[in-house]
């Protein structure tokens, strides 16, 4: 499915879908929130992007792509053509790709009820990543208690 999305994005169309997985908590709740992607005219630190990275299995779709997989993660560093990504909900682990492998940028996050979720650059969240394990524990508790819409 993602190659088809990539094609549509490259044609200038927006793509809306519901990603799966927990790697973008607390900003995107996989299996529940939907995102709208648009072709990226430029890639900046703080953007949430869909990218083809080298590695094993995709958290988004479970699909294995030839020689790599796809992630919907936040850009935490840009060095020339090199882009470093990390899921907001991941404690460790980053991915690398080049600018050409960034398929699209998230321009909107929506809850199932159609309510818009804030799309920030995630700067504060990145700064407190040392305590991410605990923040995510709290987030999961709030989620289980149904206090997060």
């Amino acid at each position: 499915m993602i190659p088809e999305m990539a094609e549509l994005l490259a044609e200038g169309k927006d793509v809306c879908f519901t990603p799966t997985g927990v790697s973008m908590r607390p900003f995107i709740e996989g299996g529940r929130d939907s995102v709208i992607l648009r072709k990226a005219t430029r890639v900046r630190v703080g953007d949430i992007v869909l990218a083809a990275v080298s590695g094993q299995q995709s958290e988004i779709s479970g699909q294995k792509s030839a020689g790599g997989h796809y992630v919907l993660h936040r850009v935490i560093a840009v060095d020339g053509d090199q882009v470093t990504l990390q899921g907001d909900g991941n404690l460790t682990g980053t991915e690398q790709c080049t600018m050409a492998h960034v398929l699209g940028t998230v321009v909107r996050i929506e809850t199932p009820r159609g309510r818009r979720k804030p799309l920030t650059r995630g700067r504060l969240w990145y700064r407190i990543r040392g305590g991410r394990k605990w923040w995510l524990k709290i987030y999961r508790k709030l989620l289980r208690l149904g206090l997060l819409g």
């Binding site: 499915m1 088809e4 999305m5 549509l8 169309k13 927006d14 793509v15 809306c16 879908f17 519901t18 939907s34 709208i36």
Partner: protein, 83 residues
């Protein structure tokens, strides 16, 4: 129409956003009928017309073709792509 796996999805020409949560997917037979149905503008879609196309294209009896055509048209009306 665009391929998606071994099915086809409808993507409108002027559509600026494609919602993968609400895709209209079609199997090969439905895609065949849709292509023919949209070839000429203002074509009146009746089960008999679609059945003719199915009968000409596939190895199927007239009765089966008519039944399939009726179900297909019903489905298209349900999802709002035909009236």
């Amino acid at each position: 129409m665009r391929p998606l796996g071994d099915e086809w999805i409808l993507v409108g020409e002027g559509i600026e956003q494609v919602n993968f949560n609400k895709l209209i997917t079609m199997n090969e037979t439905a895609a065949f009928l849709w292509t023919k149905a949209t070839e000429k503008k203002g074509l009146e879609l009746t089960p008999e017309l679609l059945a003719d196309w199915l009968f000409d294209e596939y190895e199927v009896s007239r009765e089966q073709a008519l039944e399939d055509a009726r179900l297909t048209l019903e489905n298209w009306e349900e999802i709002g792509i035909a009236e």
